[in-house]
Assembly symmetry: C2
Homo-oligomer: 287 residues x 2
């Protein structure tokens, strides 16, 4: 017997589509269905075989699902969860794939308040790319990647186990954190680098950009990400992001000060500390 | 008949080694020789077949060379050029592969002052990686890359043609610029991104770094570059780099301000402008 009868994915883009492809590939459910806002996206997802079946309403899509996954922009997740719980069956588990957790988890737990037969567990699969859309979905997107799953005082232990196990089945390594620990970590390793990459691409005029080499292209790759998606993420993780930004500004300020002062040894020291840390923690990591 | 009788490369690491491999592959010279400071690097270069022959002194290496290329750290280039001109034959052309040009070109033209039978033309092949050493040298490193060649009032036209033609033979596209135009451009597309990447890697604690995904790894890839090499580059292009830094800080400041103010539309606008520019100028570029 399959682990799940029905997995429902709300929002079938790069992430939702990859979840669908991966769950189907690994035969985790009797059926994997998607919920769409637009008929055209539904057709694209079916053409891409990312889901077995598509629905245009939450009500139809969510009915009979054991596992409901929201892979829509951050701000829409609590609203959609609020709607989904009205149609979810008893024992259903809801999770998401949003890039901020404190904001989402608090609102979703609140939405579930009265529905004790449905559980919510926050997830953040840390995989993806600067692209959007189901056309970029890949069945192996989560293989070897990290997925942070959140636990709060309200988290149901069985649901936490099911959700963690689900991501592991897709090939991800799972770390359990509190929503605020997640937000602090991800502000540093994901949200801040996006702010910096966007700012770098924004600051360099096009004429000069044409003279760039691979260093610039790599450093700004994520600046080709979707602006609305990222503005949404930044604003829902504002506090942790601004704290991460202060840490960046402090280091950057010291590097610039050493350069401005013509201090060779102080400059080497600041660069050397950064390189040593990066080499220690990232050398030999996938890609 | 080969285009060059002898090409001499002073400093046979990633860049110098790749020049050697490429020149040998394309049979541009009867012999490609290297000049080394350490016997061990000489042996590594010979093992890697990056040069046909190696010497431990400038005097022996430079003698009979038609083309002399300095691929050593920026600060050492003028000193080595000053030495090389004493042994270079009449009509010999000297070029370099340094990442800053105003500082190098002024000092090297000065060094050549009395030796009118030897020419100097500044070059900056914009290729490489975060790695160092002849082991990472590749014969195709310059294929499809950009090489900036500088022209000043003192530049000899024939030498400019020979140096430009040489880089084109290695597969590079050549742009001719003044040293100061080069420095301004490269400060924006190469030196600034290095400062930013080093600062990002420096600011994020190792524990959080372990939770990073591909975005962070790409954004900080060049922070694994050699600290002494880059401190040298930053300090010899200080003025242009600090001006580029001000442009970055201005854009970054606006993004942070929009986020701190919770302004969704202003944030989207700043990110959108950056993405549009990057997509326009870099989309579909090699890698």
């Amino acid at each position: 017997m399959k682990r799940f009868k029905r997995i429902t994915i709300i929002g079938v883009g790069l992430i939702g589509g990859s979840i669908g492809l991966a769950a189907k590939n690994r035969r985790l459910a009797e059926e994997v269905v998607g919920v769409f806002r637009h008929r055209s996206t539904l057709n694209r997802a079916l053409r891409h075989k990312a889901v077995d079946k598509g629905f245009m309403t939450i009500e139809e899509g969510v009915r009979d699902a054991d596992l409901i996954i929201l892979a829509t922009p951050v701000h829409s997740i609590p609203v959609l969860v609020r709607e989904a719980v009205n149609f979810a069956k008893k024992g259903a588990i809801i999770t998401d794939a949003g890039s901020t957790k404190g904001w989402i988890v608090a609102k979703c737990e609140n939405a579930l308040g009265r529905h004790s037969q449905v559980s919510f567990v926050g997830s953040h699969p840390m995989a993806g790319s600067e692209h959007t859309g189901v056309e970029f979905a890949k069945a192996d997107l989560f293989e070897g990647s990290l997925c942070i799953v959140t636990r709060t005082v309200s988290t149901d232990k069985r649901a936490l186990g099911v959700v963690s196990g689900f991501w592991r089945s897709l090939g991800a390594k799972v770390k359990i954190m509190s929503p605020s620990e997640h937000d602090r970590t991800v502000a540093l390793v994901s949200h801040l680098p996006h702010v910096v990459a966007f700012s770098l691409a924004g600051a360099v005029p096009g004429r000069e950009m044409e003279c760039s080499a691979e260093g610039f292209r790599d450093t700004t790759r994520i600046a080709s990400s979707d602006p609305e998606l990222w503005a949404d993420i930044f604003l829902t993780n504002k506090k942790a992001l601004l704290e991460a930004a202060r840490m960046f500004e402090s280091y950057y300020g010291k590097v610039i000060k050493a350069i401005a002062g013509g201090q060779y040894l102080a400059t080497v020291k600041m660069l050397g500390k950064a390189k040593a840390k990066r080499d220690k923690f990232l050398y030999g990591k996938r890609r």
